[in-house]
């Protein structure tokens, strides 16, 4: 216990002695962890957005006004038996008009009672990746070809997210790769900085270390202050990063959400806490490993 105090005191002296390099390593750790944190939080948000988009992935197939109920039923039955289809619903002309009215009532008023909107079959998918396949099969289905709104060209009448969904998937994959590469790079830089700071601390205390070795201080006792110093830098850096993320969450996030209201940006506090814990643990590991590497190279015991 007393030696723990000793380590703390010694590491604080080392800290004070090399304030500029200590600040340097703290800031590097802080920035690295901040960027890592932003990537983690951002990744979670994108995942959230994707899943909300995914849950909205559905196929709308317009149906001609004069289609017989029998044909519609047979198409709907056929659809329900398809793989990846969760629910199949039907929207009548009147319901379509009502839905439309709820978003833009002015236009509906201007229609003077006439209803240009077609009825539609709505397909919800349980697996959004299958959307294209199901849509293509629907277009090829002979029953549907009979009842589609624009005669002879059923592909016109089958609507789904198409390419935008696909693009979103590949985009998130790219973002993930870039994020991982960036995080690895930043961790590397942070370790190099810690390594250098601890090297300076070791050089500054060369004489003391020689005497400690001479009078028989145990290896752990000689290493302790330096490990502590590395860990101290890392913890301060990671707390700064956590603090900045918390500020971003409280002040920047509502603004972004206000500007992009249709996308769900809000994450639960639990998700943030999870990221914070990851950051602090990662910072601690970076600090300890960085100083351990420095000691391996510069502190022969």
């Amino acid at each position: 216990m007393s030696s723990l105090f000793y380590f703390l005191r010694e590491s604080l002296t080392g800290f004070a002695r090399h304030l500029s390099t200590a600040l340097g390593s703290i800031i590097t750790i802080f920035l690295s962890l901040l960027i890592i944190g932003i990537f983690l939080v951002g990744g979670r948000m994108v995942e959230n957005i994707i899943s909300s988009v995914e849950s909205e992935v559905s196929i709308t197939a317009y149906v001609a006004d004069e289609a017989s109920q029998e044909d519609i039923d047979s198409v709907m039955n056929w659809l329900s038996s398809q793989e990846g289809v969760a629910t199949v619903g039907f929207t009548t002309k009147e319901q379509a008009l009502e839905n439309f009215q709820s978003t833009s009532s002015d236009i509906v008023d201007a229609l003077d009672g006439s209803n240009p909107l077609p009825a539609s079959i709505d397909v919800e998918l349980s697996d959004p990746q299958l959307v294209e396949q199901v849509a293509n099969e629907l277009v090829a289905n002979s029953d549907y070809q009979k009842i589609c709104d624009t005669e002879g060209n059923p592909s016109e009448d089958v609507r789904y997210g198409e390419k935008s969904v696909e693009r979103l998937f590949s985009l998130t994959n790219y973002v993930r790769y870039i994020g991982v590469a960036l995080i690895v790079l930043l961790i590397f830089i942070a370790m190099v900085f810690i390594n250098n700071t601890i090297r300076l601390a070791i050089l500054a205390r060369r004489k003391e270390i020689a005497i400690m070795r001479l009078v028989g201080a145990s290896n752990g006792f000689i290493r302790g202050p330096f490990l502590m110093e590395g860990a101290l830098h890392a913890i301060i850096g990671s707390l700064l990063a956590v603090g900045s993320l918390e500020l971003l969450r409280n002040f920047a996030l509502p603004q972004v959400q206000g500007a992009l209201a249709f996308l769900p940006f809000d994450l639960s506090l639990g998700a943030f806490l999870y990221v914070y814990i990851i950051l602090i643990v990662a910072g601690l590991l970076i600090g300890l490993i960085g100083s351990a590497l420095a000691m391996r190279r510069y502190l022969k015991v």
Binding site: Y6, E208, A210, I211, M212, L214, V215, G216, S218, F221
Partner: protein, 284 residues
């Protein structure tokens, strides 16, 4: 334990060189024996009997540094040191004195042979146990190795602090050991406010504050004038009288000749002489 007979016949009533020279060096040893005979015999009281098991044993120890593969720093050294002895290790620069001491505190390992300290083989000792070996060996060096930003008290206390002694032990033992070396009035001085002799006393105090059974000094008086050196040697002798084994590497001829203790002489890595109540014995 080689040619005792020829030594004994040459100088029957002289202090008998017990473990003396090897082969070609016997002539030199003989000369030294005659020299010591011609010097006034000092009565050194109670030289401890070399009985029981030795504290330090060098068993055919050879050390070759990679930089000089053809010239061993120490070649086939075998000797024993018993508890309570006061030993001078003499020889010119480069004769292997420092190598001897560095091997003793296991800063380096012998290339061949074994060194036993308190029955433990240093070559086989695990790295993590080395600090515990060093706690039992006090070390004093020519350049004092004091920390300039700590006071006398803190310098001595540092040795106890870093081996995890409690504050209470530090508060009682440090003033006591500083009184023993005669610096009780200078506890709060910084090292650069002290003379060379006083700094060396601080360094000795630091070496013995943990009460090690063995005190090793590498040229403790190398930087000091003869009178101050005498004081340091008196101090070392006093420490020896409390039962501590003291090993002093030196090339201070006057000191060795005056004190007439056991002398181990090294010359270019060879053990040339090992003699009780010996003299420096090298022609300068």
């Amino acid at each position: 334990m080689t040619n005792e007979t020829d030594q004994a016949t040459a100088a029957p009533q002289a202090p008998r060189p017990r473990r003396a020279a090897h082969g070609a060096h016997s002539r030199q040893a003989q000369m030294s024996a005659q020299l010591s005979q011609s010097l006034p015999v000092l009565e050194v009281d109670n030289i401890p009997q070399q009985t029981g098991t030795p504290v330090i044993t060098f068993d055919h120890v050879t050390k070759v540094y990679p930089a000089q593969p053809n010239r061993p720093a120490l070649a086939d050294i075998s000797l024993q040191i018993y508890a309570g002895e006061f030993i001078f290790l003499v020889g010119h620069s480069g004769s292997g004195k420092s190598t001897f001491i560095r091997m003793l505190i296991r800063e380096i390992k012998p290339t061949q042979g074994h060194i036993y300290v308190a029955g433990e083989d240093l070559s086989a000792m695990r790295n993590w146990r080395v600090p515990y070996l060093r706690r039992n060996i006090g070390c004093v060096f020519q350049d004092f190795k004091l920390l300039p930003n700590k006071t006398v008290f803190e310098n001595v206390a540092f040795a106890l602090e870093v081996i995890g002694k409690s504050r209470h032990v530090i508060k009682t033992q440090v003033p006591e050991v500083l009184r023993l070396v005669g610096l009780q009035d200078k506890l709060n001085k910084m090292p650069d406010q002290l003379s060379g002799g006083e700094q060396q006393r601080v360094s000795i105090a630091r070496a013995i504050v943990n009460r090690p059974p063995l005190l090793v000094c590498d040229e403790p008086t190398g930087n000091l004038d003869p009178q101050t050196s005498r004081g340091i040697m008196d101090l070392l002798e006093r420490i020896n009288r409390t039962g501590t084994t003291v090993l002093v590497a030196t090339h201070d001829r006057e000191m060795v000749d005056n004190m007439r203790r056991r002398v181990i002489a090294l010359d270019r890595g060879q053990l040339t002489r090992d003699q009780d109540r010996g003299v420096y014995g090298f022609d300068v």
